[in-house]
């Protein structure tokens, strides 16, 4: 009886697991062995078009990894990816907290308006936004025109630079940040903050010691999700960023399409995957901790 019930439960969750296994897990596994030098079998189609491939007769070889990581371009792009991610996440966090905190503290109409306004980018397709940002900052764009009119003809243009990638990534990510942080803050009673002031904490200290820890999970979620989305972004760096160094997304795509090196491109994808896992660690830790404390509180 018990066994049958167990089997029934297992059958109920089987379809989604099966779908994920077949359409995600299996291709990942195949790509992984492809990067390790196995060109035959399910990889024979892709290896038929690939240039500069490495194959092995043994269990595996790490030669492709060594080659790719030794490449200057790739190194530069790896560094650029990390740099853009770190800066974007930091700015998004600061902006989201500032806006959400302002709205929470003042409960004013301006605060609510700011929060609402900050969410607007979510409704604008990334392609369109990227083009407008590029237009705005590039040579002959709005910023440059205004600068010239004000007598600064040599004002720098940001078109096709990593800085512009950061700006565009911030534009894309701030809505999610503000939504998360402000809804998290919304769940904190004002008296928790006032109680800290009451026992002698300044506004800054009460924010840092009370509000931030009480709003930790949303903050970690924003950090990790923004980090992963920036790391893996394609449209923004492809449209507004430089050709090289660029982020790993466009870099891998170019390696695959322009240089016809699928094996190398997949190594880059693996590197991207590895970075994303690192970024995801705090999220897993925070949800685990939140689960544990909420269970402790339920007791």
């Amino acid at each position: 009886m018990r066994f049958l019930r167990r089997l029934g439960q297992l059958l109920m969750v089987a379809p989604p697991i099966l779908v994920i296994g077949v359409f995600v897990g299996f291709p990942i596994a195949i790509s992984a062995i492809y990067t390790l030098g196995h060109l035959g079998g399910p990889n024979s189609a892709v290896s038929a078009i690939g240039l500069h491939q490495v194959s092995t007769k043994g269990l595996f070889t790490l030669k492709v990894y060594k080659d790719v990581f030794a490449e200057r371009n790739f190194q530069a792009s790896l560094v650029a990816s990390v740099w853009v991610t770190v800066v974007s996440v930091a700015v998004v966090l600061v902006l989201s907290w500032a806006i959400a905190l302002y709205a929470w503290r003042t409960r004013s109409r301006l605060g609510r308006a700011l929060t609402a306004l900050a969410v607007v980018p979510m409704f604008i397709p990334v392609v369109i936004a990227s083009y407008s940002i590029l237009q705005f900052f590039s040579y002959g764009g709005f910023v440059k025109t205004v600068a010239s009119a004000l007598g600064m003809p040599h004002f720098p243009t940001l078109g096709y630079s990593l800085q512009l990638v950061v700006i565009a990534e911030i534009w894309v990510s701030v809505p999610f940040g503000v939504l998360m942080i402000s809804s998290g803050l919304g769940g904190i009673p004002p008296s928790a903050f006032e109680a800290a002031r009451d026992v002698g904490a300044s506004v800054v200290r009460a924010t840092w010691k009370i509000l931030v820890p009480m709003n930790l999970l949303p903050t970690v979620i924003v950090t990790c999700f923004t980090g992963i989305s920036v790391l893996g972004s394609f449209t923004v760096p492809y449209l507004v960023g430089p050709t090289t160094p660029t982020l790993l997304g466009p870099e891998a795509t170019e390696t695959f399409q322009s240089f016809a090196e699928p094996q190398q491109a997949e190594v880059m994808a693996v590197a991207l995957f590895g970075l994303s896992i690192i970024v995801a660690v705090p999220y897993i830790w925070a949800t685990y901790r939140a689960n544990r404390t909420s269970r402790a509180q339920a007791l």
């Binding site: 008296s191 109680a195 009451d198 026992v199 002698g200 300044s202 820890p213 009480m214 404390t293 509180q297």
Partner: protein
Amino acid sequence: MSAQNTQGLEISNLMKRLGDNAVVKGISLTARRGELVCLLGPSGCGKTTTLRMIGGFLSPDSGSISLGGLDITELPPERRPTAMVFQNYALWPHMTVYKNVAFGLRLRRLPKTEINDRVDAVLKMVNLVHAKDRHPGALSGGEQQRVALARALVLEPQLLLLDEPLSNLDAKLRVEVREEIREIQQRLAITTVFVTHDQDEALSISDRIAVMSGGRIEQYSDPDSLYRRPESRFVAGFVGSMNILSGRIVAGGITLGPDGVFIPCDDAVLANYGGDGGEWEVAFRLEDVDVQSAGGLTSLPHRGSVARQVSHGHFKEVLVEVGEHTSIRAYLGPDVDLSGPVVVSVRRLLLYRDGALCYESHPASGRGQPTGGESLPGGAGLTSSSPSGSLR
């Protein structure tokens, strides 16, 4: 305590407008050092608003607040020598009980050992040593309340502010905890402002009570005189149970209600004072009503019948219909026989006109007074159910 001088809290003419409402309309109040003062009033009368201004969470539109002789009106909350216990306790869920209590001391950069000692001492005082390392989520309501109290007390504030600190507790615990609070407050001789809308609570723990209504203080006095001598019609109706009926003064008593029912009252001065023929609002406590079996005296005009009685165990509350449209509530002993017609008389009453107290009668002695003088003990033989100062 840290205060060197003997001055307590002094509030003068505090006003606050929130949005479109004038919420606090000129409140003046003083509390001596070590005194526990209750702000008592119906919901929405501005109690919390007043308390938040004292704590520094709201700045008054006008008026001033001083503590220990120092004007603190402009100080931010973190620089006021006040400590507040919030209605929802406002404990920090990410800190243990110990850390919640120690937070304020840490901000003051005290040495670790001193922090430890002081936190331990205060946790012992509120009986929470066993819960030291638990998080607030793992505490019962009463324990959380005591953590909030400990967090405020550990700073040895000059002024303790409590905003309905007991409203989330069940009835039995509420009585227990309020006694604990009172005991600690008296032991530490800490000036305290206690907000509540529960008159029972206010009467049983306060040194003085400020009854508030519509952003103003209606009366500020000790519990006994508040109960025995409400200075306004509002306070008479708000504090304790009271019969309030319109009536006229006649020889030997009063005539009440639209029926003009005669109720005797043994007060020689009453007729002299109130006999101007005009209408009064007559108020008398339930324990000041005498109800007796009419027996053979069937011809008396103030004969009534008991319409309803509710037993409270050691006494009962009865509703006597003395006229077609007039009824009087009374507290009686548990053994009084009330079948058949009854006669009603009043031992002690208060007269109000235009909302203000004009006359206070005194029983037995037949010596009444136009507002003022000592109250005599009333309600002989009856245990008052209703909150009275004597319960303390």
